[in-house]
Symmetry: C2
Subunit: 658 residues, 2 copies
């Protein structure tokens, strides 16, 4: 039975929840297919997530391997394939709690970087799981800066082999997933040396464990890097190589080859590599970043209409905490951001697909823009969503802090997304480099990619809003965001030029501008996100209340951004103080409007109880009962040796004998 | 041997690290005593924190109990007492990783709320550990709002007993520490009923476990609430009472008594209770909030001079990451905040001591101010420091995400401080209520407490700064902070009045202003923190470079606050855009100045390697070696059954037989 405090929230939805779900899925047919996958996965007890919060790292790893192996059977049984339309729903249905994800990256790297011969040899072995692959790039002392990697691969013409070594401790491979305990093979990135000359970083397929008994191969030291904030199910590993020899054929050689005599041959374009990183950054947004935020919103908002605390009006019942303005101000902007970034993701996907089609025609023109946008959005979305999940967690008070709420593990997992696949600050600086370049080009009248043409139009106008309702006009707020992005880019470009002209060396000048460059890059992405959301809303069907509620969310997303960052808009007087007060008024008004639809808006995300795995967020809102039931199953409620060993002697005053 | 990249940082300190440590400790004698305690604790293997990151919740609990019991012996051996000067250093030396902290609260509540007779009976039993106490206030469905608690205690005149019950699931006691597995007794807060009439919340001593065999007493259901984000060492518990009878003498009766015939007598002032909460909020700041931030700064800053990544100048060695402006901008403001809030804490302690002396003279005049400041500062400091620890964690990239860095557990622990002892938003609203009241009084010419007299002086001036160096003048920035605090308070007071005058009911009007009230409360505390830091710096001795570096940190703290919140200062034109650019310039200049002393500034916190328990932050900076050594000890490097069960069948293609 549904908690009446939750049930009442669903009766007043201003829109069709089912229609909104279909919109998010990309059509009713997609919704149907997704639900079928979820049903098949969740009805299979091997994939259960019960008791997950009680498991040790070892138990989590074992469960993930068990699930990965079982998934092979399941896919066969269901007729699902890795390239089939259902595949993307499987990972979501498993909440990522499965092993061998790096095995897929291993395969992808061979497909992209390997010669046809290498692909023909390795891909079937990997597909049939005759080996388990990993991807060993990051080192203990080297992450972002690939040129700095220290692992070496020296070509030995005598034996036609590469000799791989870890010359010092900072060169150990560190972090690769599936490598700590599972993998038999890995792609090692190492500095290639031929006849004493260094040719830079190249990828080599290296076997690390026996296919017979899984023992480490000669010269290999490998293991698990130990406990982390999350990803207990993944065996992130370390790898130390000592004179490990691999045949010449094991260097992935689509782009570079070493001939038997040691001649180094570079062939083809490496630009596609660039594109691979872009593809990974975009693809992680949906599963690793948006889904956790949507789950956190679902949990925190459902809980906030079930939890009653203090009185809003004297003499009445205690109030639902979502009726407090401060609680609305915590949660509803996160909900708006989840929708906003869902549509940003659609935008990036579309751009990516267009880029991919162009690349197939050997046209690489879109790459810089795509790289800048995917880098910037990866950083902005992961940062924003991580902060959002933390807000949801804290907004649930003590119960949010219990692992049983599901919020801590959502937080600790999403946090990693700010670090992996490009540390956010570094990514934003790449976006900024692109912006500065385009700004200079645009200022010089040269053509620039579509997403940055606005940089050419430096206007010194004022925001035309006359009352608070004007700030519900997308034109008004989109223009304001655009103005800020232009101002931050142009002023930082000017500072950079001033510094260089005053004699500061280029790299020093750049470093002295980086704090402001990061601000410019964020403003650019924020502008694009707002503009895209507004344009998306305009195109929505007006029926079933969908467009209206999405318009409210778009307004909230935009006004929250202004309200939280008023200085950027006030700085040069584009927005006046009086206008800022209008923004505040409209923003606070919107909270009360969206609050009414808050539960239907999270229901539309369509998470099952099993996928939420939260005592606070289940569909029926039976929060207290579930917390109690789950807590009773905790291993901390088994007998502890602490009583006999320590408490009893203490209480019986035999302390002196201890 | 110390990593040369770290060693070089120490050679150029602009001040005496030892002198700064003594300043932080409150004198060289205190430093000596603290180090003696640390030495005694850390040299005892029972208190070791080795392998802590590998332990399960059960193992952590057992270790905490073992340490707590052993501590009794140790204190006896060392001649330390609970009221002695060494006591405060013991908890810090143990990093809080010890059981029975609630036993102390149990004793304190009896001392404060109990009659002389009750104190004479229970305190000796507790002191001798003939029982283990807890403190059961919070319920599954009730935290902040004490009047909402649902546990009942009905007085039975026939037997002269109170009958305690948990009428429904939301009334279960939930969260009390030491109660899940250890406690034999607890103080239960329940609604008192006599002859069918409710007299509100009262405290009752209730035995929950047998002193003979630790089994649960009749009518008691109790256990552990399960896994949390941190505090694995604490057995936070649940408690369900079913017709549990306690004698009339077990109601703590310093302020209220139930006579044998059921007559309810209220005696004395309860204002002191108010004072107890204040005392707890202030006392937690140092150990639970500042220490974690100082540790996080130590770890992240030491790591940032050892970690080299990318090149700052072409052709040179890879740069220390602390040489990047963006890294400085992440870490150095956190360092400045740690110092700023250390001095805020001194200020609060002093105010508290003064208040305590007054109360002993039966003068309660200081209570409202003390309550408002302790609530506001508890919220602002916990929030700021939690964000700071998270920034430190993320600034260490992947290695920060490993538990072995120590940063994740600092984060997950400090996060709780935003929730316990008063949820931050609610505390800020209490501060805001005080501010509005004082603002109204001040506007009407009535006297107000010293910390808020500034509210009377609403000035509409402009910031007088003429160049970026002017923003290094404490008068200039303190005045700016004051201006913002007055503006936010007065504008919100005006909004509140407007709403009420326009017919909105008082409680609705209040709710509609709460987002802005929270802003005003934060601005007030931030202003006091800046002002206090500036005043503290002025009084420091000028020798040994201490005053100079503290002045830099004070400037950084103040300017970072303006830089991060420019809108508040720009809003009414108090600060112009040109002045804001000066702030930015001065702020960025300061980063480069303080960067030179960053390592000495964290060395002055004087944490031992054992208390940091971090592979990244040790004094010698041997980061990579330690990460590798520690990882090898992880239980995830033991044989896993996953190979035989799942991997082998998969690899040997016996999948179909699974």
């Amino acid at each position: 039975s549904v908690n009446p405090d939750l049930a009442s929230e669903r009766q007043t939805a201003s829109f069709s929840v089912e229609k909104l779900t279909a919109l998010l899925d990309g059509g009713a047919e997609q919704t149907r297919m997704r639900r079928a996958v979820v049903e098949a996965i969740e009805s299979d007890p091997v994939f259960s997530r019960e008791n997950q919060y009680f498991q040790t790292q070892n138990e989590r790893y074992e469960a993930a391997v068990r699930k990965a192996v079982h998934l092979q059977k399941k896919m066969h049984e269901m007729g699902w394939t890795e390239n089939g339309p259902e595949y993307k729903y499987i990972y979501r249905a498993l909440s990522g709690d499965v092993a061998f994800l790096l095995h897929r990256i291993f395969m992808r790297s061979i497909s992209v970087l390997g010669s046809d011969k290498q692909i023909a040899k390795w891909i079937p072995l990997a597909t049939q799981h005759k080996l388990i692959g990993s991807y060993a790039q990051t080192e203990l002392g080297h992450g972002t800066y690939l040129q700095g990697l220290e692992t070496t691969a020296v070509f030995d013409t005598a034996t036609q082999e590469f000799i791989l070594n870890t010359p010092k401790i900072s060169a150990m491979k560190w972090w690769p997933g599936d490598m700590g305990r599972s993998a038999t093979h890995t792609v090692v990135f190492a500095q290639l040396y031929i006849h004493g000359k260094c040719y830079g970083i190249h990828p080599f397929i290296v076997q690390i464990r026996s296919l017979q008994d899984h023992s480490l191969c000669p010269g290999i030291t490998a293991g698990d890097i130990g406990p982390k904030m999350n990803f207990e199910h993944t065996d992130n590993g370390y790898l130390l190589l000592k004179n490990v020899r691999v045949p010449r054929e094991n260097m992935l050689s689509k782009f570079c080859e070493v001939r038997p005599d040691g001649t180094y041959v570079r062939q083809g374009s490496q630009k596609i590599n660039y594109f691979t990183m872009t593809s990974v950054r975009i693809s992680l947004i949906s599963d690793e970043v948006l889904t956790p935020l949507m789950k956190a919103c679902t949990i925190a908002i459902r809980y906030s209409v079930v939890r009653r605390q203090s009185k809003l009006k004297p003499g009445e019942q205690e109030a639902k905490i979502l009726d407090y303005q401060t609680q609305q101000e915590k949660l509803l902007p996160q909900l708006a951001a989840a929708y906003a970034f869902h549509f940003s993701n659609d935008y990036l996907q579309e751009l990516f697909n267009r880029g991919y089609r162009e690349i197939q025609k050997k046209n690489f023109d879109m790459l810089p823009e795509l790289h800048a946008l995917s880098s910037g959005f990866k950083a902005v979305i992961t940062q924003h969503c991580t902060a959002g999940v933390e807000i949801c967690l804290r907004a649930c008070g003590g119960h949010g802090y219990s692992l049983l709420s599901g919020l801590p593990s959502l937080y600790t997992k999403i946090l990693a997304s700010c670090i992996y696949e490009g540390e956010n600050t570094i990514l934003l600086l790449q976006t900024a480099r692109f912006l500065i370049k385009c700004f200079m080009a645009a200022s010089a009248g040269q053509p620039v990619p579509p997403s940055v043409t606005y940089l050419a139009a430096v206007k010194h106008g004022k925001c035309p809003a006359k009352n608070k309702l004007d700030f519900l006009s997308p034109d008004i707020y989109t223009e304001a965001y655009q103005h800020v992005a232009v101002r931050l880019t142009s002023s930082t470009a000017a500072k950079l030029q001033d510094l260089i002209q005053s004699g500061v060396k280029k790299h020093d000048a750049w470093n002295q501008c980086t704090v402001q460059l990061v601000q410019a890059a964020k403003a650019h992405c924020h502008y694009i996100a707002v503009k895209n959301f507004a344009e998306t809303v305009e195109k929505l069907e007006t029926k079933a209340g969908i467009q209206k509620i999405m318009k409210h969310l778009c307004d909230l997303f935009a006004l929250h951004g202004i309200f939280s960052n008023t200085g950027a808009f006030l700085h040069d007087g584009y927005t006046s103080a009086a206008q800022m007060d209008m923004v505040t008024a409209s923003y606070l008004d919107l909270l009360a409007v969206i609050r009414k639809d808050a539960v239907p808006l999270v229901d539309a995300f369509d998470f099952t109880d099993q996928s939420l795995n939260s005592a606070l967020g289940s569909y029926d809102g039976q929060v207290y009962q579930r917390l109690y039931e789950w807590a009773q199953k905790s291993p901390t409620n088994q007998m502890s040796p602490a009583y006999e060993r320590y408490l009893k002697p203490l209480l019986h005053n035999t302390l002196s004998k201890l």
